[in-house]
């Protein structure tokens, strides 16, 4: 056989094989596209989870479970069932979330969620001076939307991860109380929180005695929690700290909390 003919035959064969590969691709293409979309959504949720972790835990809790007095739960029925109707949002829930996250909230719509004061929730979108790009806002919204199925009981809910509690001592219980009551949203304490809305509580045990004449350290701390405006720390205005802790906590909780705060002697 001449070389030209051999090449024509082999060439035809290769064209044939290439066509087979293309046909095989074509038959798989629909399912590949669908799979890719699912994987992409999953990655968006993973990405959103890390954005949440870096930006939102101080108010909405590590686990999006909300913090009493500060900000609402983002994995509860409270958000997924009836929230948009209550607030009069016409569109989809996901769009509501994107919109709230993008613009933040100057003033809270609910007195029980004080957030960071003013604004209650800062603006997140880059467009309005926040830190997040559009795709990041969409990712964190996808992360929140992912909780919908379990919030509405379609799948078994995941219990929030346990906080390391040393329940054998009042100080240990007090430390847990400090986290549960949401004090961490405003006050910095080494190893627990780095919030800056209120003054740091490192060294409060020694400072408390010197604050108000006639009040012991424990008495002063109790007063600052029940009636925060009675004595204002220099540089902070009135009414920033919630005024309602006195009603929402049991006496035992107070004792634990004070026991804990009295261990914070180091600056």
């Amino acid at each position: 056989m001449k070389r030209v003919q051999l090449e024509i035959i082999l060439g035809t064969l290769f064209v044939f094989l290439s066509a087979l590969i293309l046909i095989s691709y074509a038959t798989q293409e629909t399912s590949r596209l669908a799979e890719y979309e699912v994987a992409q959504e999953a990655e968006l949720i993973e990405f959103g989870a890390s954005i949440y972790e870096n930006n939102c835990t101080s108010c909405h809790g590590d686990f999006a479970q909300g913090i009493a007095g500060i900000a609402p739960c983002l994995r509860c029925e409270e958000l997924f069932d009836g929230r948009i109707e209550a607030i009069g949002w016409e569109g989809e829930l996901e769009d509501y979330i994107v919109s709230v996250v993008t613009t933040g909230r100057q003033v809270s719509t609910r007195a029980e969620y004080f957030g960071g004061g003013s604004p209650a929730m800062p603006t997140w979108s880059e467009k309005f001076g926040g830190p997040l790009r559009d795709d990041q806002v969409r990712a964190v919204s996808a992360y929140i939307m992912n909780f919908q199925a379990e919030a509405l009981g379609e799948v078994a809910a995941v219990p929030p991860p346990p906080i390391a509690i040393d329940s054998s001592t009042p100080e240990g219980l007090g430390r847990a109380q400090f986290v549960i009551s949401g004090c961490t949203a405003c006050h910095a304490v080494s190893g627990v929180s780095e919030a800056t809305i209120g003054p740091s509580l490192n060294g409060i045990a020694t400072r408390a005695e010197t604050r108000v004449e006639g009040l012991s350290a424990a008495e002063y701390i109790l007063e600052s929690i029940i009636d925060p405006n009675a004595y204002l720390v220099e540089g902070y205005g009135a009414d920033i700290m919630l005024q309602t802790f006195g009603e929402s906590m049991a006496e035992e909780d107070f004792n634990n909390l004070i026991a804990y705060l009295l261990t914070l002697t180091e600056e």
Partner: protein
Amino acid sequence: MLNTLRQRFNIPPRDELRAWFMQMIDDRVRIITAGLSIKELRAVFRGDPPTEKPNPRYKVITTSFVAHLRPRYYQQAATWFTHTFRLGWFTTFFFVVETITGVVLMVYYIPFPDQAYGSILEIESNVWFGELMRDIHRLGAEGMVLFTWLHMFRTYFTGSYKGPRSFTWLTGVVLLFITAWLSFTGYLLTWDQLGYWAITVGSSITESGPVVGPAMNILLRGAPDIGTGGLLRFYLQHVILFPLIAILVISIHYYKVSREHSISLPAWVEERDDIPADEKKKHTRRIDLIPDLLTHELFLVCVGIFAMLAILYFDLFNSPLETPANPQQTPLDTKAPWYFWWLQGMLKIEPAKILEGFINPVIGIFGAEVQLGRLLDSKFIMGLVIPPLLVGLLAAVPYIDRNPSRMAKNRPFAIAWGIAWIFILLALSYMGLPEFGIETAPATRVIQDLAPEEGLGPLREIPFDELMGAVETEAEGSFIVSREHLYGRDLCPDLAYIPESEEDSDDPQAVIGCPHLTEVFYQFNDRLIEAEEEGGFGTGLNGAGPQMEAVFIIQQWAHNLIRVQPTVEWIDEDGNLQEYHQIYFLHEEGRREH
């Protein structure tokens, strides 16, 4: 009856009609093929000699625009596969492939930072054959770069840059740069961490230039950092400016070959005079464009297309796509594509240090010492001074090498020099690996290796069932690194699950325990212990011995989401507690090995 009709309408007899009809078709065919009749075409494909005189196959070359770009013939020895390996040809092939797939990708691609990455996802997830197009374009790009280099080395070793071909070599050097620049500009367009940082690091070389450095940087990036302006610049260069320049220069390059000096003969055929006359005649026989060269090239096209499709079909190549570009977060390893590793390796050389190493021991005798770091900026020298010098050297090859012979045995120095450069490039590329010469703290290295930016990494190879299983264990997903080697002890002995690959089977085989997770954990464990033994965590407070503790925490975060947090803590020399951790989220349906 028929006859009367025929007469009535003045229709010629059947043979005449047929002849007229065939003539008409033949005329059309001649117009389309620029001069070949049907008979001639048939002869061409049968390998018969030309049917008319003068040879109509030569006429095509003067009458057809496309064919006139091609030579009439090559001499037989010049077409030997082992002479050219078709390297230049395949480079051209890849360029054409890139042009076609590039136009398709252009239809969907949006060159703006906030949409670019999304449009790539769109191509992958929403466009029929979109992934294939992207893969071919990326594979073709790497192929083109590789083949350009190989082609250059081929022409170097066969001495084909000598004499009349020195200008061809010069245009080739320009093409080498154009090819590199096309791939460099394309690398940014995906707007993911990989491309963004590779280009940021690459283009930062310009910044080191004296006086005009910052201006050059702005010219290239459109702003101090790559943003909207930079992306648009790179895009336009990639899809318009440099393809046009490439077409022009390839045309010049090839015109020299086809019109002026043809492909060189193998050196010995040209130079040895002890070859018998008939053998010489056989080797220099003309191989015509039509049909031999043309069929051969069509055949190569079929081979090329098939090879690319097969490589992609069997998953031997994948276009990478990492997380979206984030200018605020430099990844641990910024990785240039492999064909730029040599440059990245070169940038790790510090000429000031080397010179100091030579000078200081000598002048040290007199108690003196010089610091050249300020005087000699490594980035400037290795990035902006040396590479242009190298390009100049490459371009000057035909003028430096004045040896008239092309035979390897007559030019030992040139051959040795060429081989030496291959090794230099390989060594520089090795130095350019992200791991080379860059010290990363062991905690960072070990933890980041669990889920590297590129590829899957060990963490993503763990099946989701095993991660969920780990949470239910006695340890509640908290596994502490220990110094006792506990191989073989499964982390979740009570788990049994059906892997995805078995789900459709009639007799699914369950996996007992969590072998994948166990493997990953013990690797993590052992690497940390090893690093500790090698002193990677220091010697502890006042040299009391290293103190390192590490834990691998797996938590369930939602019904379909797992959070993994590996944490390492150690005490440094001053007694301070150091800590490093990373948080990884893994979704049930996320990227994972199947």
